[in-house]
């Protein structure tokens, strides 16, 4: 039975994600620029970029197949759905039973497969290079992400994100060493998955080092806008999953519509702090060589496994 408040919270959560995701991107970029002694672009720059791209003509390669055209929509849909499933504002979400944490990882994988196929579709060298790199990172990051989600699931006895948040946020405060380790692992994974600095530089178009940019090189106009927006949504979704697992306070429970009003400022505040931390991480780290990335992600996987083992040993 879907309650009206649940439906409202769901729509609000997705709308907020769509609206705030570019802002989060702009916020991170702004802090990155400040920390690196550069003049920062406006906070609204990502919106302007999206606006510009949506009004431009989309140019397709002559041999582009229909897959190339539909991939941006699939990627965007996946990310929007992921934002809807992650309990950002309320745990009473009609969409939440549709996908638990494991299916959520599958959703990210689906988007990755389509964007990689589309990158290889046109047959340019850069596209397939980017696709291969993306798959290399993806296949190493996914098991680590699953292990992180499992260590939270072990504590709360559920793989549904909404249930995890409910259990973590509404019991008496306790220190979970396993969650602390899993949090570090999750940070590693989200840096890799969102093409942030130690793995990929989001600000570069330098051919030899790029991963994400190489994938989307052939896209233009509204397709590119959708993909850029989807990238912002992905960052937003990952931030929200991280906040849900490790800082679940402030999320509204089922049946308390007014708590959503407090959940919004709490979410914005948490995201703002998280964005600054991301900018700091990106500033103090140098981009690593591509062949070091497996080592980086192996470390993430290892930390997540340690988190599981520690939970088994300590029961906390």
């Amino acid at each position: 039975m879907v309650s009206w408040t649940g439906l409202l919270a769901q729509i609000l959560a997705i709308a907020l994600a769509l609206a705030l995701a570019p802002l989060l991107m702009g916020w991170v970029n702004q802090w990155r620029a400040w920390l690196q002694n550069r003049r920062a672009p406006s906070l609204l720059q990502p919106y302007r970029t999206l606006h510009k791209l949506f009004h431009k003509e989309s140019v397709l390669a002559e041999n582009a197949s229909p897959l190339f055209r539909i991939a941006p929509y699939i990627v965007f849909g996946c990310m929007a759905l992921a934002c809807g499933i992650a309990p950002t504002l309320s745990t009473d979400l009609p969409l939440a039973p549709a996908a638990d944490a494991i299916a959520l990882v599958g959703l990210f994988a689906l988007a990755r497969v389509f964007i990689s196929l589309a990158a290889m579709d046109v047959g340019t060298a850069f596209g397939s290079l980017g696709a291969r790199r993306e798959m290399l990172i993806g296949f190493l990051a996914e098991p680590a992400l699953l292990m992180v989600l499992f260590s939270a699931s072990l504590i709360t006895q559920s793989t549904s994100l909404a249930r995890i948040v409910e259990t973590l946020a509404h019991q008496s405060f306790a220190i979970y060493p396993s969650l602390a380790v899993a949090g570090v692992a999750f940070t590693f994974v989200s840096l890799a998955e969102n093409a942030r600095v130690p793995v990929d530089n989001p600000a570069t178009h330098l051919e030899l080092t790029m991963i994400h940019e190489a994938l989307i090189l052939e896209y233009s106009g509204r397709h590119l806008a959708l993909i850029e927006w989807a990238a912002a949504l992905k960052l937003f979704a990952y931030s929200c999953i991280g906040l849900a697992l490790f800082f679940p306070w402030g999320v509204a429970e089922a049946g308390t519509p007014l708590a959503i009003l407090f959940a919004i400022p709490a979410l914005v505040l948490k995201l703002a702090v998280g964005g600054v931390l991301l900018a700091v991480i990106e500033t103090i780290n140098a981009k690593m060589r591509l062949f070091r990335v497996p080592e980086f992600l192996a470390t993430a996987f290892l930390l997540a496994v340690i988190a599981l083992l520690v939970h088994v040993l300590l029961g906390a």
């Binding site: 306790a174 220190i175 396993s178 080592e295 290892l302 083992l309 520690v310 040993l313």
Partner: protein, 219 residues
């Protein structure tokens, strides 16, 4: 409040374990020393919390001893040694880190299984962390085995002593003060002698690679 403090012991124990893994994964000697210092600090913090919770005052003494020795004195000495050996920016490249870390995970599982029956016999508040202490020791062993250079081996040895000390704090109420003092001075003398050894090895072979020691005769 008390239960939260008891939980921080687990947190520090996990920090020790993660730092032990970080040491295995770390190639740079300088960072290795920083990690060792951090591990010492985590050990001091864990000991202080145990001392506070159990009201055993001699544990404060050993916490202070640990702090002076493992957070201040030994790191300073190690910094001076690597300065004088001129290996401050040395990077080891010869071993496969992901494989080593996988072996590390197996070691952790073994240690946790080994410690479980022992821990159930103990009545200490930090008994659950005995497995972690054992895992730290085994990981430091592993580090001593896989490293080819002298300085990381010494750091592995020192970090093994950290694990041992933590095991003593976690499983029992800490070792008697006289034993602790003895071990502390052993470690101190040990690192002095190993420091001299490192200079000698370099003098003889023009490198700190201990694989040169495997050949007993000149060809």
């Amino acid at each position: 409040m008390e239960s939260l403090l008891a939980q921080t012991i687990n947190l520090f124990a996990v920090a020790l374990l993660v730092l032990a893994f970080a040491m295995i994964a770390q190639r740079r000697i300088l960072t290795l020393i920083h990690l060792y210092t951090l591990q010492g600090a985590a050990l001091v913090a864990a000991t202080l919390v145990v001392a506070h919770l159990t009201g055993q005052h001699h544990l404060y003494g050993s916490a202070i001893l640990t702090f002076v020795l493992k957070v201040v004195l030994i790191p300073v000495m190690l910094h001076r040694v690597i300065d004088r050996l001129n290996v401050r920016w040395d990077v080891e490249t010869l071993f496969n880190i992901p494989t080593t870390m996988l072996i590390g995970i197996v070691l952790v599982i073994v240690a946790f299984n080994l410690a479980a029956p022992i821990a159930s016999l103990s009545a200490s508040i930090a008994r659950g962390t005995l497995g972690i202490a054992l895992a730290c020791m085994l990981l430091s062993f592993l580090m001593m085995i896989v490293r080819a250079k002298a300085v990381p081996q010494v750091i592995g040895f020192l970090s093994m002593e950290n694990g041992l000390f933590f095991a003593a704090t976690a499983a029992t109420a800490g070792m008697p003060m006289i034993v602790e003092l003895g071990i502390a001075f052993d470690v101190l003398v040990g690192i002095l002698i190993l420091g001299v050894f490192m200079f000698q090895i370099r003098e003889q072979f023009d490198s700190l690679d201990i694989r040169h020691l495997e050949r007993l005769k000149e060809d």
